[in-house]
């Protein structure tokens, strides 16, 4: 073949080798084989999926770190409650001894009373502002002192509430009973009146949710009054109905040693793995009131020690014992979850390392390979340049001179 001009070919070769040199330099400088999507479209798409999964793993790890201390707080609180209940059982057994004087029993009752306070304090434990036994309603203390009567802020002599007064549809009124350990939740439907609420309360009494005698009446002042009609049965009432206004405990009606659960029974779950969700809280009612009413049994023990017979004290102590056993059982699933979270944390740490390795394999380049590629590209480039330098000045004219 006739070769007229070597220059275009040499220029093309130089461009090719310089391009290879640029690629090799970039790969070595960034440590990446894929610097833009077009370098490897399939690897880039896989990288998108891998990064999304990686972000999830990071978040799961962060979730474990967030909920673990909260659950450890709950676990430690339950442990303290069991210890307190065991002390109460010891005291109750002591009080049930027929030889104890009533003065001694009053003294024992005082000790049990402080145990009750301690149990309530543990049940109201919080971690960074979250009440661990408040159910999904975790921003306020779940166990509050109960009173016999609550009165609405709305209603007056001039403009009294009446049985026919319509309630706001969708509004919620709750009555938590310390003695039964249960809560009545009433949501007003369209067309409901105070009379509807009254009959709902009557039904709750029949069902045993609320203590016998609990009712809602319109007071002489024209306000709604919800009470137990008993000096020893305590309730806590709340309502978000603007027609009723805030429900407030009547002054001086607080029942000694009576506490009602006002938290929710909702359980929040948090995702800590692709298919792993853990319950992050144990609602206080499940732990202490709606099974055996542990709080109620302590209150009964105090009352029995103060005023009851040895047999009554014995029965009350037995109730506390059942409560203690039950609470101890509740701790088992919690401990299991804590243990699961600990192993999940190690697993996620390992998974993160695996993902990072995968990602490096997807888009990264082995440094030794990159360095070798660069040396090769450098060699190719200098060879092309050397060849050009050798060939280009050579012409026939040179020899003719």
């Amino acid at each position: 073949m006739r070769v007229a001009n070597l220059l275009p070919d040499i220029q093309y070769q130089m461009q090719q080798s310089q391009q290879a040199l640029a690629t090799a330099t970039q790969q070595l400088a960034t440590g990446l084989r894929v610097n833009q999507l077009s370098d490897d479209p399939a690897a880039s798409a896989n990288m998108v999926r891998s990064l999304a999964y990686s972000a999830n793993v990071d978040q799961y790890t962060s979730n474990v770190s967030s909920v673990l201390p909260q659950m450890q707080t709950a676990d430690s609180a339950i442990s303290s409650i069991v210890t307190s209940l065991n002390s109460a059982i010891t005291l109750g057994t002591e009080g049930a001894n027929g030889t104890e004087s009533s003065a001694n029993r009053i003294e024992i009752a005082n000790q049990v009373q402080s145990i009750l306070s301690s149990v309530i304090a543990q049940a109201n434990s919080s971690f960074q502002g979250v009440y661990v036994f408040g159910g999904s309603d975790s921003t306020t203390p779940p166990f509050v002192p109960a009173s016999t009567t609550y009165t609405s802020s709305q209603g007056s002599i001039a403009s009294p509430l009446a049985a026919t007064t319509a309630l706001t549809a969708g509004s919620v009124t709750t009555i938590s009973d310390a003695a039964t350990g249960e809560t009545m939740t009433y949501q007003a439907a369209a067309g409901d009146t105070i009379a509807t609420l009254q009959s709902a309360i009557a039904s709750a009494v029949s069902a045993g949710t609320l203590s016998a005698g609990t009712s809602a009446t319109i007071s002489a002042n024209g306000q709604l009054s919800i009470g137990t009609n008993s000096a020893t049965a305590g309730i806590v009432v709340s309502s978000n109905d603007a027609v009723l206004g805030t429900m407030t405990a009547d002054s001086g009606t607080e029942v000694a040693n009576a506490y009602a659960y006002v938290g929710s029974s909702g359980v929040n779950t948090v995702q800590v793995g692709d298919s792993m969700n853990v319950a992050t809280n144990l609602p206080g009612n499940q732990l202490l009131t709606s099974g055996p009413n542990v709080i109620g049994s302590l209150t009964s023990l105090i009352t029995a020690l103060q005023t009851g017979s040895a047999a009554q004290i014995g029965a009350a102590t037995t109730a506390v014992f059942s409560g203690s056993t039950y609470v101890g059982q509740q701790r088992v699933p919690l401990d299991n979850t804590i243990s699961q979270l600990n192993s999940q944390e190690s697993y996620l740490g390992q998974e993160k390392i695996t993902l990072t390795t995968q990602q490096t394999a997807l888009v990264g380049i082995n440094m030794a390979d990159a360095a070798t590629n660069l040396s090769q590209a450098q060699l190719d480039n200098s060879t092309v340049l050397a060849a050009a330098a050798k060939i280009m000045p050579q012409t026939l004219l040179q020899y003719l001179q």
């Binding site: 001009n5 070919d9 833009q36 999507l37 479209p41 798409a45 799961y60 967030s66």
Partner: protein, 459 residues
């Protein structure tokens, strides 16, 4: 027997032939680096012999003219390859600008989407935390912005390509005018049996430039080269050129019309114009359509999940994203519908502390959208397509460049000027000239001898 006079005549023709050949060599050397120049060779022909008696004697050489050494087939292949190369380069240039928007490292849709789901998951550990709620809003806003940015990048590329279309059409019109102007001049030369020479080189070079802009087919007509677009619409016939026009269509895009006002945009292929139109009217709308579908369906899925729960005030969850009723334009206009952190519907039962509905919001990440893929996978597919389109354009550009280099080498081996060869020719013609000149001086001496023949005898 030949006379001294006829010998002298042969010598003069030799001088002319040698100097004419030197002229060709000189011109070749002068244009060695001129793009599109085709080397010329002198056409030397021996003159008819003179019969004198019973023998015939050669009567010298004649320089008939110059011939450009062409290969029309290679020329045509180079034009076609140039069309392919320019088309690929036009697509590559646009895609390389689009590509960084879909990068996998920072602030792209995938990263922001992950960040949103992470913030939702984080909120589930403390659903009443206003900081965590605000983080979800911020992440949602960042994702909406990422969608907006990606959409804007694509649409601004489209607008930029409109300008490119207009510029290409202007250049095509200039080139067809110049090509048409050369046709009569070349026809005049060829009709007299001469080679088109330099004018043909110029025309070939202009056709090559035109090929870089759009696909043209070249046929040899009676009045010179006839050019037409890929779909047969004439661009040059004889000395006449037909201008293309541009107009803005109802879709806001620049359309190309032929001289009759017919819209030929979709039939233009190859070259920078073809590649630009392909990117503007097929590639970008395809990507934009997928982006819009993803934004629309993702927004709708998040809104549906939000509607299943209750906000921190116990009210039913309202839309988290504002998306248009139609899919088109969703990526450009998606935005946050709420700015109050308490409006995130974390609760499944209306209580402020419940996180039950966050699971529904999180589930959007792993649930297939109506288009058939999860949001993450839909985005990964989009990333793959952008990468693949760019990679293909790059591969085509590289392949056509290599092929073009090869074809140019081939053409150069036929038509290119070799300095070495011309140097040798220079010596050859120089020697031929010197020899002819020596013949002239020898004959001159012989004339002198002849003239002085009588005188010498007299002495």
């Amino acid at each position: 027997m030949g006379s001294l006079g006829s010998s002298l005549s042969i010598a003069v023709q030799s001088l002319n032939a040698a100097s004419g050949s030197l002229q060709a060599t000189n011109n070749n050397i002068a244009n060695a680096n001129t793009p599109g120049y085709t080397r010329q060779v002198p056409i030397l022909e021996e003159l008819a012999p003179v019969n004198e008696g019973n023998f015939s004697a050669g009567s010298g050489v004649d320089l008939k003219g110059y011939q450009s050494v062409r290969d029309q087939l290679l020329q045509t292949q180079i034009q076609q390859e140039t069309q392919a190369q320019s088309g690929a380069n036009a697509q590559l240039a646009s895609l390389q600008q689009i590509q960084p928007t879909f990068t996998t490292s920072t602030q792209d849709i995938g990263t922001e989407m992950s960040a949103l789901f992470s913030s939702i998951s984080s909120l589930s550990t403390n659903p009443t935390s206003s900081t965590s709620r605000q983080a979800v809003l911020t992440a949602g806003q960042n994702l909406a912005t990422a969608f907006n940015t990606a959409s804007n990048t694509l649409t601004s590329q489209q607008s930029g390509l409109n300008t490119q279309v207009s510029q290409d059409v202007t250049q095509i019109n200039q080139l067809t005018q110049q090509i048409a102007a050369l046709n009569p001049q070349i026809a005049e030369l060829t009709s007299s049996g001469q080679d088109g020479g330099t004018l043909q080189d110029q025309q070939n070079q202009l056709v090559l430039q035109l090929s870089a802009l759009t696909s043209v087919s070249v046929t040899q007509g009676t009045d010179g080269e006839e050019l037409s677009t890929g779909n047969g619409m004439p661009l040059v016939v004889g000395s006449q050129s037909f201008s293309l026009q541009t107009t803005t269509g109802s879709d806001g895009m620049t359309h190309v019309l032929d001289q009759n006002g017919t819209d030929i945009t979709s039939s233009l292929t190859g070259g920078d114009l073809g590649g630009t139109i392909q990117t503007r009217d097929t590639t970008i709308p395809g990507l934009l359509g997928q982006l819009d579908t993803l934004a629309n369906q993702f927004g709708a899925a998040m809104n549906a999940a939000q509607a299943m729960g209750y906000d921190q005030n116990g009210n039913a969850g309202q839309n988290i994203f504002t998306i248009p009723a139609t899919v088109a334009g969703s990526a450009a206009s998606i935005k946050m519908a709420i700015s109050d952190p308490t409006l995130i519907a974390a609760s499944s039962d209306g209580t402020a502390g419940s996180n039950g509905n966050l699971a529904n919001l999180s589930a959007v990440q792993t649930t297939a959208l109506p288009a058939g893929q999860t949001p993450g996978n839909a985005y990964a597919s989009l990333v793959f397509q952008v990468g693949s389109l760019t990679s293909n354009a790059n591969a085509e550009s590289t392949a056509t460049t290599a092929s073009l280099a090869q074809l140019n080498t081939q053409l150069s081996s036929v038509s290119g000027v070799s300095i070495d060869e011309e140097s040798a020719n220079l010596i050859t013609y120089q020697q031929a000239y010197e020899a002819a000149a020596r013949v002239v001086s020898t004959i001159q001496e012989l004339f002198t001898v002849t003239m002085s023949m009588g005188t010498a005898a007299a002495e």
